[in-house]
Symmetry: C2
Subunit: 387 residues, 2 copies
């Protein structure tokens, strides 16, 4: 292969942005096909994409076309696993937008299809290309922080007004998106929370508020407490209802404390590890000597979406290692599903998750939904500048 031919299914907010990037920003990539069931989006494609790009209005025709080597899935959340499985069955490599899906049961099937196909499988975790988080991961995985004691992410700067929700009737509904802030805004943080630390919770107790700040039926305010296998605990707080909100990720470990905030990493590094100090100290009050270290982070926000597309392309052309293997999408979604399930059952949720129970509860929500909202029609919002 000298060039990777991409087909995109779903030319909405994200898909159209990816399309334009694939046309001229990704080396070794070529946009050869798109698919959308909306006539308006096909018109947009006709007007903005090269003539050579084949346009399909049904997934069946798109998948049958063999007009591409790799399929980029930017359809609604629920369709991600369904379309990915079809893509694998038709012999395509697949890169899927986040979240991997809405419930892990389907995502597990997608992962199995990927594995059986032998094709490359990636997920659009573009924040994994952020120098901030790759550096944080490096600090943890190289052992600088030592054993982790606590994680704490306040990620409340996902402000969304009611007008955002009114821009699409499917937005923030159980049937349309399968969730709110956890499914639409937080997939990156839910990925980075475990990717940077290497820790998955072993149990989750979460408190979700549904339609608290916005006229929506899904969660717009969440506080979750988790416990890890190594004894560490964690907190995750998120909402769309606060302004200006906070994005502050704190990790405490045997060797000190790391805070990621305002695009900076600060490492309060202990001169001797805390457990050693504790074992040796005899003075009553007193604590380990601590150095406040500003950790260098270069490269701004990093290549983001284009970084993932370039990496996926390079993986196909040159065997480069994937930054975000598709199979890892289930991790963040598992945490998200566990938070919902904990709130719905008002109880602990142990991991591995009871995937059938989650699926049943979600179907109940969809079935029992009586929510109707005023919408301004299916507007495509400009997402440039958002991550």
């Amino acid at each position: 292969m000298e060039q990777v031919r991409y087909g995109i299914i779903g030319i909405g907010n994200m898909g159209s942005s990816h399309a334009l990037n694939l046309v001229d920003k990704i080396k070794g990539a070529q946009l050869t096909a798109i698919c959308d069931t909306s006539p308006a989006r096909l018109e947009w494609a006709q007007a903005h994409l090269p003539e050579s790009v084949q346009k399909f209005d049904t997934p069946e025709a798109f998948f049958a076309s063999q007009a591409m080597d790799a399929v980029l899935i930017a359809a609604p959340h629920y369709d991600h696993p369904v379309l990915a499985i079809q893509a694998f069955e038709n012999g395509y490599h697949v890169i899927v937008e986040k979240p991997a899906g809405v419930y892990t049961k389907a995502v597990r099937e997608m992962n199995e299809a990927a594995s059986q196909s032998g094709k490359l499988f990636g997920i659009m975790y573009n924040q994994r290309t952020s120098p901030l988080y790759t550096k944080l991961r490096d600090l943890v995985h190289s052992g600088e922080l030592g054993n982790i004691k606590r994680t704490n992410w306040i990620i409340t700067n996902w402000y969304r007004s009611q007008s955002y929700y009114n821009s699409g009737g499917w937005r923030a509904t159980w049937a349309g998106e399968g969730g709110g802030v956890l499914l639409n805004q937080d997939p990156h943080q839910l990925d980075l929370w475990q990717w940077t630390t290497g820790l998955m919770p072993k149990r989750v107790r979460a408190f979700c508020h549904f339609g608290k700040y916005r006229n929506i039926e899904v969660e717009d305010d969440v506080t979750a407490y988790v416990e890890y296998e190594n004894g560490a605990t964690g907190v995750f707080v998120t909402t769309v209802g606060e302004a200006p909100g906070t994005n502050r990720f704190e990790l405490s470990g045997d060797n000190g404390k790391i805070v990621v905030e305002d695009d900076k990493i600060t490492f309060w590094r202990l001169r001797v590890p805390e457990p050693q100090f504790n074992a040796e100290y005899t003075g009553g009050f007193g604590q380990p000597e601590c150095w406040k270290c500003d950790i260098p982070v270069h490269g701004g926000h990093g290549p983001q979406h284009n970084g993932i597309l370039q990496n996926f392309t390079n993986a196909l052309l040159h065997g480069e290692k994937l930054i975000a293997p598709g199979e890892e999408g289930i991790r963040g979604l598992t945490i998200s599903n566990a938070m919902h399930l904990s709130a719905w059952t008002d109880d602990w949720v142990d991991l591995p998750l009871d995937e059938d129970l989650f699926y049943d509860k979600l179907q109940e929500k969809i079935k029992n939904s009586t929510f109707r909202k005023e919408t301004a029609g299916g507007k495509v919002l400009d997402v440039s500048g958002t991550h």
Copy 2:
């Protein structure tokens, strides 16, 4: 009254520090009596306090003496309500060290005794004199922040090594202190959390870890989630096991966000209140204009313990309003008790608290305790510089 004559019961860590301050730092105050059952502490008093200070080795003799107008109680936690009630019955004004007690049932009785006595009743919430927190309270109570949506206090800089716990056999035991970090280190924050915001939780779900970082039987690591009557939520995270730890208190409200950290207050103030922006905005993405404001705070850490002693003295001499009325001690303790009870029952705790249930559970802990620790004897630690 031209001078307030003080008697201190309990001349340990805090009592001895208060005694020295009353001798020469509080205008209008005079130290006239002390009481301690420990011969070593009486020897210390003999060596360090004026000859004129009467020394008693039993509470009975101390209370019978009428050697003072006001009693400062700096005995172990459990004794606070018992001794306060005795003091009121003997006609004394009372100022009690924090916490008000160990369980609210006894503290409620203390409050009733205070009310019936008609005497002045104060509590040593010295952090209420901190310019940082008086300013924060002012910002909230004057309406600058607007309706509160969320509170979040990470107070993990209460580092205590094992040697601290080994300095007294009673430390961090159910029988001796009735709790760990919540009872000994956090009473100030548990007070300030509700005093600055004016919000008491209506229900609490807490996760306590007992003897996780230290060889103790009580909690040394706590994460709590609370819900308030107005719909706001809150998180409180505390531990003695992390270094360097964090002390960061964030409040989110309709008019923006306030963060108290590093002895500074930052107010991210919205130009229009968020609910108004949300109601009027039609642009999809977008959020209210926000101004980052550095809030001036003057006076360093404030007068702290001496400020409370001076205020109590002035209240008696000149009718000055109490900064920390003793009756308010039950509030922080109620939150503390609720956190313990939630952890013990692994369930929600609604407020008002079931005080009998808490009391019974605490008695069980004491009765079933099999914990014995190696101690270095009853050392008196130098607490100067600690708050």
